[in-house]
Subunit: 331 residues, 2 copies
């Protein structure tokens, strides 16, 4: 554990400069020296100390993923989990090690910590306060926003096309003859939900359908809130013939509520969700939804961050992954 470059140098009979050259760049060194060094390193089971290296190169080869976590399940949330998985895989593939942290406070204290540890860059997933983004941006920290966007010039982000996805979903329901469509909406502080909200409104208006306030129910993006809000709709004077939920968890909660009322899906009420989480296919009826390529989002976030680290501005900073409606049994 304590074998250093000096030990390798001594055994190989060269200077530590030479060892360093062989082990890093390998240019400007003789074949004879290379062999001796490699042999010695192997024999001593030498592992370079990445800390010491980072001290002088100013690159740790580490990046951070920070997920803002207001509600408990976030890493294990069926929407984020595949994204995180993709980030883990892509980081490794690109030669970076990954710190993962989740923040409960909005001040991004994990970010401070990771910055002390000198990560090369940070991915902020889910919600983040724009002022925090601006602060780090001004500090020159390479960063990428994931599933959240901010109107600050020069900030890279990856989102999916929330607006168009919602628009297409609602438009589909209208094409199917629905005119009285409920909307179970997640918290509007989160940009993705405001976009989905706008998509819902626009689709109705473009089809000449008046937007009704009491069809729109806003709550947390959880199964239980989906259930609760759907029950509200089911107990209103006029029951919608279809419901668009701004995420699948809410949609699943809604389905539970509808089935409990002994109403048939999709005959009595059609349901369509958003996110395309894995378990949407397992419930009955299988959930119609808006597909989001979560793996792609994770991959892209890492690639964008690495571009940011390398000041490679060739790639576009703003990436909006297309979304598409998937019709299964619930609509």
């Amino acid at each position: 554990m304590k074998v250093t470059i000096k030990d390798v140098a001594k055994l190989a009979g060269v200077s530590k400069s030479t060892v360093s050259r062989v082990l890093t760049n390998s240019d400007n060194c003789s074949e004879r020296a290379r062999q001796k060094v490699l042999e010695a390193a192997e024999k001593l089971n030498y592992k370079p100390n990445a800390l010491a290296r980072a001290m002088i190169t100013k690159k740790t080869g580490n990046i951070g993923l920070i997920i803002y976590q207001k509600h408990k399940p976030i890493l294990s949330h069926p929407f984020y989990a595949p994204i995180v998985e993709a980030i883990v895989d892509t980081s490794r593939k690109k030669g970076y090690s990954l710190f993962i942290a989740s923040d409960q406070d909005i001040n991004a204290s994990s970010a401070e910590l990771l910055l002390e540890k000198r990560v090369d860059g940070i991915i902020f997933a889910s919600f983040i306060d724009p002022s925090i983004v601006l602060k780090y941006k001004n500090l020159g920290v390479p960063l990428v926003l994931l599933n959240n966007s901010v109107d600050i010039e020069g900030i890279s982000y990856v989102t999916c096309d929330n607006y168009l996805g919602a628009y297409k979903a609602v438009n589909y329901l209208v094409q199917k003859g629905h005119t009285y469509i409920g909307f179970l909406c997640g918290p509007l502080q989160h940009r993705s939900y405001t976009e989905r909200y706008k998509g819902y409104v626009a689709a109705l208006e473009d089809n000449g359908i008046k937007v009704q306030e009491d069809l729109i129910r806003i709550g947390e993006s959880t199964l239980s809130d989906g259930n609760r809000l759907m029950n509200q709709l089911l107990h209103s004077t006029r029951i919608p013939t279809a419901v668009f939920a701004s995420n699948d968890m809410m949609a699943i909660g809604a389905i539970k509520a509808i089935k409990k009322k002994n109403l048939n899906i999709p005959r009595d009420i059609g349901v369509i969700g958003f996110d395309d989480i894995e378990f949407g296919t397992l419930i009955e009826p299988a959930l119609s939804t808006v597909h989001v390529d979560k793996t792609k989002m994770g991959e892209l976030a890492v690639e964008l961050l690495i571009d940011e680290i390398n000041k490679n501005t060739s790639t576009s900073k703003k990436n909006i992954i297309p979304t598409e409606v998937i019709i299964r049994e619930s609509s």
Copy 2:
């Protein structure tokens, strides 16, 4: 970004030794000096360089989580995701930063990398080759095994009580009058599945029921394999009246297969799974299963690792979390 301890010292009018003392231990320094240093640090927005600190203290405050990933979804697997979430949370609570890596090869190459980065310890989740464990153990690396155990003296691990959980589940089925009980089994290389296998066999034998080879179907621990293996059982000459699946994903696959045959659950065939993943409650019928406290497993793994790092041997090295049968609708 480039403000160092030296800058703080200059502004505060003291030596860098004093600054270091104030910022780390804060013992043996005057109140006057402390104030000046704290003020200067604040003013300059000084952030200590954790790399330089780690160089000399030999402690990075970082730990690594390595998940062996033979099949694609692992981090986003409904069993592992809550464990990982608990590990993230607990690490932060205990003041450690967490690297997460997943390994596709069994040689644990991520471990090598993390060791170069001088993590203070490593949690190995899921399967790992005992020879790798032994190698790192001998190297003196603090490590903890999670959801896997190895018969090597002095290795800490956290598992759940696979044997007893399986035993109790099968015993329950027997008490309900079943005597011809199928078993959908995950890969036996993984220790948790061999334990569950043993529990199945023991429960039958203790009840005087002969273990029938053709009732036991071994495959991957996936939904699709659960489906496939269940179909095999459904097409055999004698169809079991109940099925025990060694994990919930297989159980859900089995339920799909049974329902497709238009058989009733639990009337025609009872099903019981293992793991208690979230979505077991959402399918129909709600899945009976063996509950595993995944959050506890994650927490304990981190705590054990930190004990290991601090050479604190007061806590038990072998932690087996109790499991309990939860009966819902499928049995």
